[in-house]
Symmetry: C2
Subunit: 336 residues, 2 copies
DNA sequence: GTGAAAGCGCTAACAA
DNA sequence: TTGTTAGCGCTTTCAC
């Protein structure tokens, strides 16, 4: 814990400005009339001492903690990093600090989170069970959900952001069909804990929906799921193709998986994009550098980050939760 | 702020267990003899209510806040994300929460940080000025520095982790020289704020040192620096080569820049690795998927993450700062 | 316009 | 072994 006695407190400001401590609070919170000259003296003292009200004490007293918690199931990928980076840029000016936490599916986790007095919670996860989301909502902390999946019980108790996953994947399928592809694979996530996509997952859902609209089949044949690692996927996909799986198009759940799949089909002797078109998701850096370069869907991360902070701000101010949707943007490259 | 009245407090536990509040504290902090039966009743009540001591109140009272702050200059890249992910895994079990903050070079930033009562600070930045690091050290919060650069004033006031950058880049140069390369370029970072490397930067330093040991020149000819974006770098490098720059080897500051450089030299008609060998740094995912696949240096992120938490724990326990060094590992692929 | 004082949930010194 | 109490830094009610 910070033992530093040199960090100024409200008392120091009051002394330097020659006013009572209460006056300092009034000036800083701007919620009471204070004589002009005193106000000025206080502000000067604040500046001189580089005083910042102790966030912890404030939070304990029931004010804002200026602390936002971001709960996610994959805090290491580029997509997530970019959103957090952008959030930090906006949030810093508003005085917010952002914490990162990987989700755990147990009620201890919920209790842990509740023991922190945070101003807002953002959840971006497909694997975090809805009952725990509901537990968190019960404690009445403003919450924003990034809709990677559908929730059944949340209703309008949390703000929701549709990041364009479902519509985006639908457009991926459309593009492939327009290119004349019919034997289209969907590459599902790899997971060591058997957390594969269900139709709750908006990307997977988008795939199924659009395929159905074209009258194309969706089955265990063309949904590539159940692998525990990228290596397994790489080998498994090759085996399937050697065993006669027909494929002329691939939609990857993200760029990384699309690249794994691309490497696998190329290892099978298929030419991209002549024999098969491949499309990823996220428009991450690597899509520019793989060979052939990878067509991908760009997600509006800046817009999403802004929306998160805005929504949280509004809910903290007492407004009800809201909903916002974002579009994705197709970035076409060599792989299609 | 969390308005939730249902989150249990110490009082609730005391009531349920039929003991005084102090007893609850003593049991939880395990620092006083408490009658066996009472201790059991307390622990039962804790479990039943899912009670967690309010971290904020604790921190205010001068105890641990269980809060670690990670300050960095690039919170969106994969390398950084992996370290945080690993830290979270270890830290969660110890009750720590990790916050992320992009550095800002002003004293307001320092004051902001000080207003949070954090248990420890981790800094991984090349651009964050040392005077602000010193200001942070003054407030006596345990600190771990990831040594991306040399510091001149820190001395042993903070724990330091050498992540292998300098030695790693030296090995990169060695590898290229062993392959018979002599006209070796170093690709420096791109920066919109003119924050290019100086010899404080351990990667750049490693390059200079090893080149000198081989009697090879280092000049503005072969240090590719000063570009504001990857696009500028891509174009600029091609121009230089068209203007006669001789090059048969490239060391990229990271995989991403190495890929940009690789794309540029290939666009100039050079063959990789026949005409030119290229090596990156970080062993990020993309190095597996670019064509040709990219030789790179793997950093021991798991080890580093562990070391960070261990060091912080020890300093929080009152032990003096320490130093640790990690080795990098060469992952050779097609580009060399 | 201003100040005194209570109290947020917790720890630890002190007293019993 | 246990309870009482002061106080961490702050906000806000209430009285002046």
């Amino acid at each position: 814990m910070n033992q530093n006695r040199s960090t100024p407190t409200r008392k120091d400001v009051a002394q330097l400005a020659g006013v009572s401590e209460t006056i300092v609070s009034y000036v800083l919170n701007n919620n009471r009339y204070v004589a002009q000259e005193k106000r000025i003296r206080v502000l000067q003292a604040v500046k001189q001492l580089h005083y910042h009200p102790n966030t912890v004490a404030r939070a304990l007293r029931g004010k804002k903690s200026n602390h936002i918690l971001f709960i996610a199931d994959n805090i290491s990928n580029e997509h997530f990093g970019k959103i957090v980076e952008e959030m930090d840029r906006i949030a810093y000016d508003k005085g917010y600090l952002i914490s990162l936490l990987a989700d755990r599916n147990d009620s201890e986790f919920v209790a842990q989170v509740n023991s922190r007095l945070v101003d807002g919670i953002v959840i971006s996860s497909t694997g975090f069970e809805e009952k725990y989301v509901m537990d968190l909502i019960q404690s009445e902390v403003p919450m924003v959900l990034l809709m990677n999946r559908e929730y059944n019980m949340v209703g309008n108790k949390a703000s929701r952001i549709y990041t364009g996953l479902q519509q985006g994947v639908k457009e991926c399928v459309k593009l492939l069909v327009e290119k004349g592809r019919r034997n289209i694979l969907y590459i599902d996530r790899v997971s060591q804990h058997h957390r594969y996509s269900t139709t709750d997952d908006l990307r997977y859902n988008g795939f199924c929906t659009q395929m159905a609209e074209y009258g194309l089949p969706v089955s265990s044949e063309n949904v590539i799921s159940g692998y525990r690692s990228e290596e397994e996927l790489y080998v498994g996909l090759q085996n399937r193709i050697h065993n006669g799986l027909k494929v002329d198009g691939i939609v990857g759940r993200n760029d990384n998986l699309a690249c794994v799949a691309m490497a696998a089909v190329m290892a099978c002797g298929l030419k991209v994009p002549q024999d098969i078109s491949i499309i990823g998701f996220d428009n991450s850096r690597m899509s520019n550098y793989v060979k052939p370069t990878l067509t991908s869907m760009e997600i509006d991360r800046t817009g999403i980050a802004r929306a998160i902070i805005t929504m949280l701000d509004e809910m903290i101010a007492g407004n009800p939760p809201s909903v916002q949707a974002f579009d994705t943007k197709l970035i076409e490259r060599e792989s299609t």
